[in-house]
């Protein structure tokens, strides 16, 4: 029997094929932003999003707030949609809300937030505070940050989804922590998203979590694509290899992002930056050709040499 999820998955796969064409047939000149469908709904998401960890935590510094607003403006202008934050990121939520309001971007983004409190009773209140800071009508996605008190928060988030107060529900981890618990929840709960760390160096999720996400129709958000910049600092010593041009990359940052989003289970990578040049560079990775299996192996080899 065909479930709604299964039907959406087929539609989603068809959509993905339309956008994520294989390298041999893709055009380098194409300016259609690469998207991936959210398996549970079929809604298309651009493969590069925007994180806010550290970079958007600038307090009430008006100069820095305006710089973050510029980053969001260029991100959306380049076709980006998902912006991700958390109550843990101190003033980042306020800064996002300030920028979205000032640049009139609220209706054009996909808002991804988290609940981060050990008290289940305070979850709803914290989500409402976050919503007010973002100045949005509702969040598109609410995730349980680092699985903190997930037993208490998950029923709240599912109830909110049923009531139309949020569109998707997810869970997060980073830097390889609690992968067993993540797997268990992916198997047992009807979540829409999972957020994990993945890049050419941190590839543990390739073994179980990414295949499981495909099997269970769960969208995957990838955090820490550059290991908080350390990966790019290490690669800066190496010249960009000629094969980077084969996947329309002009920088190591684009090579790393294309490696990540070329995995078929990945929906969206969320590099964080407070620099307009960097967000434009990152968004260029959401265009053009993606690496095939052989090129992915060459990227891994290049990272291991760095």
């Amino acid at each position: 029997m065909w479930s709604r999820r299964r039907a959406l998955r087929m539609l989603a796969a068809a959509g993905a094929c339309a956008v994520l064409r294989p390298p041999a047939t893709a055009s380098a000149q194409s300016r259609t932003v690469l998207t991936r469908p959210i398996p549970s709904s079929g809604e298309a998401l651009p493969v590069v999003g925007l994180g806010s960890w550290i970079t958007f935590n600038v307090g009430d510094d008006p100069v820095a707030r305006d710089a973050c607003t510029d980053v969001m403006r260029h991100f959306v202008a380049a076709g980006g949609r998902m912006i991700d934050s958390s109550p843990m990121y101190a003033s980042s939520q306020d800064v996002i809300g300030y920028g979205l309001h000032k640049a009139a971007l609220t209706e054009r983004i996909f808002s991804a937030e988290k609940v981060w409190t050990s008290s289940g009773a305070q979850g709803h209140e914290q989500i409402e505070r976050s919503r007010q800071k973002w100045q949005v009508r509702r969040f598109d996605l609410l995730q349980i940050h680092n699985l903190l008190a997930w037993q208490e928060h998950l029923p709240t988030l599912f109830a909110m989804k049923a009531a139309g107060q949020v569109r998707y529900v997810g869970i997060t981890t980073s830097e390889g922590r609690r992968h067993r618990d993540i797997e268990q929840l992916m198997r047992s709960q009807a979540i829409d998203f999972v957020q994990v760390t993945y890049n050419p160096v941190d590839r543990e999720v390739e073994e179980r979590i990414l295949p499981l996400a495909r099997d269970r129709d769960i969208a995957v958000i990838v955090n820490r694509p550059f290991r908080q910049g350390a990966l790019l600092r290490a690669l800066a010593r190496q010249p960009l290899p000629p094969w980077a041009a084969d996947i329309d990359c002009a920088s190591w940052a684009q090579v790393v992002l294309k490696f990540i989003v070329s995995h078929p289970a990945v929906t969206c990578a969320i590099p964080a930056t407070s620099n307009v040049a960097h967000v434009r560079e990152n968004m260029n990775a959401a265009y053009g050709r993606l690496p095939d299996g052989a090129l992915r192996s060459r990227i891994i080899a290049a990272m291991e040499r760095a």
């Binding site: 935590n57 307090g59 820095a64 908080q228």
Partner: protein, 228 residues
């Protein structure tokens, strides 16, 4: 916290170095000329320690309490908490230190300083002088603007270093009660600066430990004897 061993110092850093120093710069601009009062208080404490004037213990405790309370409210609670949610707790800790100084030092008059002579006292007064006059120079030496200088009395790190140096000279076990928060702050500040790859993390830790030296020498009587 599960899998705590997988966390590094940088895992707890919520902001970039640029944001941190910009926060200090904006704070300095907002409170000017309170920095001058801070320096004046620092020099007054130094003079009182050397001169051993009548009631100097009470006055020193009161002046330090004013600095700790100011930093608790004006820096930690109003500014630093914007980019670091833990700063609300830092404000509480700094407020507690101010309260301790008032209760123990001003109201109960329980502070008695070792004689300001000898190598130990020279070390303590030198560290206080460096914290008051030298620490602000670190901004320029590390490529930051003068407006981002951290000044005694209004900035947490030089105030904590100087406070350790002052309180380590206090006779009796009561000094340990007063030293806990300043010493812990030196450790927190050093860890934050290390996470930001800022070289002054070593300076804060080294100055804090050096300042603690008189208190670690032994019993107050031994220390006093060593100074004679």
């Amino acid at each position: 916290m599960s899998e705590w061993w997988t966390y590094r110092l940088t895992s707890f850093l919520l902001f970039s170095p640029r944001t941190y120093y910009r926060l200090i710069e904006l704070y300095n601009l907002a409170i000017w000329p309170a920095q001058l009062a801070g320096i004046a208080i620092g020099l007054a404490i130094l003079g009182l320690l050397i001169g051993k004037r009548r009631h100097c213990e009470r006055i020193i405790a009161g002046l330090l309490a004013v600095c700790w309370l100011w930093i608790a409210l004006a820096f930690h609670y109003q500014r630093y908490a914007q980019i670091n949610w833990a700063a609300t707790w830092f404000a509480v800790a700094f407020g507690c230190e101010a309260l301790l100084l008032v209760v123990v030092g001003v109201l109960a008059n329980r502070l008695a300083f070792q004689t300001a002579r000898g190598g130990v006292a020279w070390l303590a007064t030198s560290i206080i002088a460096v914290a008051v006059v030298g620490y602000p120079l670190l901004a320029a030496l590390t490529g930051r603007p003068w407006t981002a200088a951290e000044m005694f009395g209004v900035a947490a790190d030089p105030t904590a270093i100087a406070s350790v140096a002052v309180l380590a000279l206090v006779r009796g076990r009561i000094r340990w009660l007063l030293l806990v928060i300043p010493v812990l702050w030196c450790a927190v500040a050093a860890a934050t600066l290390w996470a930001m790859n800022a070289p002054q993390g070593w300076i804060v830790l080294a100055a804090g430990l050096l300042a603690l030296w008189p208190a670690l020498l032994g019993s107050p009587h031994d220390a006093a004897a060593a100074m004679r």
